[in-house]
Symmetry: C2
Subunit: 340 residues, 2 copies
């Protein structure tokens, strides 16, 4: 059907291995004669429209050049910044002639086909994986990289310095004169290392000034809203775990007639398109998602072909930065009037 190295070999009057080697660039071409035949072979190949059969190559080499995007939760890989991470990852892999394969992990066990059947040479993950998947990967010596998660120090990972991000966010509010700053993680947020890290960043900034902490971790929006609109000593600033909380809060404050940023300053996490068009535009902590993809690709590819005991888990970090927009401003001079 399609052209093979044998047909080219015949046409060129050389052996198939020579063709394969030359087309693969596996030959130094130091002698003049060999350089000439090499040129001739490349010419014939092009003329005949030769394409290496990747299935044959995968079989022969024992490598598919596929990297699995392993995930247990659909939403996660499409959530927030992760789409950008994925798309940069795809591009980075592509440069090394690798492709990314969707590998959903669920009860059906279909993942075994992909992982154990040798459909991929390595994998990347956003969340930590079920133990059985992890051990299957290990048993097959498939390298794995964690993206934006540090739950397993024995695995290479690229992380965002969330502590620094939350620290900067909180510091920003403190710099604007805010004394009572709340930190909010919604109750529906999935477990993730960033929760603890952002909280740590918040604490570090708060504690440095001797201000009081208002930690609302894993709470409902109603409870937090209550804190924000009732009582005498209400927070005047809020650092949200993500844009979900920020969206909920902004929405609620609008309903309660609390003005942002005049009465309350709000900071979100992650620089998404939508937050630029919120009312008002959201001050948030962003990071360069493309870097994560690049680093991730580098880390998986590095370990492919490396004997498993010669590998070492490496961590690469990406620094976030604060993006100041309209949702933060100077602390109100005095406490607002109670509305309820």
């Amino acid at each position: 059907m399609s052209v093979t190295i044998y047909e080219i070999a015949e046409r060129a009057g050389v052996s198939s291995s020579t063709v394969a080697r030359i087309l693969r660039g596996d030959v130094k071409e130091s002698y003049r004669r060999s350089a000439e035949t090499a040129e001739r072979i490349r010419h014939i190949a092009k003329e005949m429209g030769y394409r290496p059969n990747l299935r044959a190559r995968a079989f022969s080499r024992g490598r598919t050049h596929g990297i699995g995007l392993l995930y247990t939760d659909d939403a996660w890989i499409f959530e927030g910044m992760n789409t950008e991470v994925v798309s940069s990852l795809v591009r980075a892999l592509q440069k090394s002639k690798y492709h990314l394969v969707f590998a959903p992990i669920d009860a059906s066990g279909a993942w075994e086909e992909i992982v154990l059947g040798g459909q991929i040479d390595g994998g990347v993950v956003f969340q930590s994986l079920p133990a059985e998947v992890l051990s299957a990967m290990q048993k097959h010596e498939l390298p794995l990289v964690l993206l934006g998660d540090n739950s397993d120090p024995t695995i290479s990972q690229v992380v965002v310095d969330d502590t620094a991000g939350a620290y900067a966010a909180t510091k920003h509010l403190l710099g604007l004169g805010h004394k009572r700053i709340l930190f909010f993680v919604h109750q529906t947020v999935k477990p993730h290392c960033s929760i603890a890290e952002r909280l740590a960043g918040y604490r570090a900034a708060i504690d440095a000034t001797g201000a009081e902490r208002y930690e609302c971790v894993r709470m409902s929006e109603e409870d937090v809203i209550d804190i924000l609109v009732r009582g005498r000593e209400r927070p005047t600033g809020i650092v949200c775990y993500s844009n979900l909380e920020a969206t909920l809060i902004v929405h609620a404050m609008w309903q309660y007639g609390v003005s942002i940023p005049a009465d309350l300053s709000v900071i979100g996490f992650n620089d998404l398109f939508a937050t630029r068009y919120m009312t008002p535009p959201l001050t948030t902590v962003g990071f360069d998602a493309a870097k994560i993809g690049e680093y991730g690709a580098r880390l998986v590819l590095k370990d492919i072909g490396t004997p498993i005991d010669a590998r070492q888990a490496i961590e690469m970090a990406v620094k976030p930065k604060l993006i100041v927009r309209g949702s933060t401003g100077p602390a109100p001079v005095r406490a607002r009037m109670a509305t309820g």
Copy 2:
């Protein structure tokens, strides 16, 4: 390294083909004796931890069981409802032991490796593809399916009945007493068949009542905002091409002090999480994204292995439905006062 059918064959005292056939379920097992050996072989296979080598199978069969997710624009596959389409597609393919592969199409020409190298058995697309990619797919007899696009009638496709959706949206506003209803497509919207279809639905509804059309196709938000806040005969309702327009408009109206829905009713397109938390929650046209993935999978898989001239382009349609939330209400009794 890993177990092969030969080792099993030897252990079981049968030929390798017998093992392969039985493990593959290619044998009826009608005789008692054959049923027994079949059982024995399966037992041995399990005991030895046998896994068919998918690379070998792909090579031998000339099929990788991979479907390419072809895209020229990163943003598109992660945009709006498409993430849900993709994730349902992955799941649907998985049921048939197929996997989805990211296949970005760009100037680097890396897509040729994937398409021409035989890394995939078929493809799906959101946008219509560059001609060269299309013809490459055709030449290699790889089936292709368009998702939510009908730009090429010779290709199988699953589409959303956008005309019906826009019709329902407009009808909803008319039913609320609105007489002046604007249709807005932002200038940055990428060319897509849905633009014309949604416009057609809008027109059909408007024309049926003899009302006047206010078509703002490919305009900037400033111009549309101008129309909405100035002049005597201002529209009281607006049907947006997507959530982008809806977001921009809601944001702008808030700045101008125009109340939604009291002064202006707004309808968006696509039922995204974020729109449920807008202020007010957005009335929008939604559809079942999972259906698109399912249908899409069915359509590509159907044509794999089918001789190219026995194939026929099939179109499957998904019906949208109007989701009424807070951004639409009865038409204001009289025209608002001019603000500028």
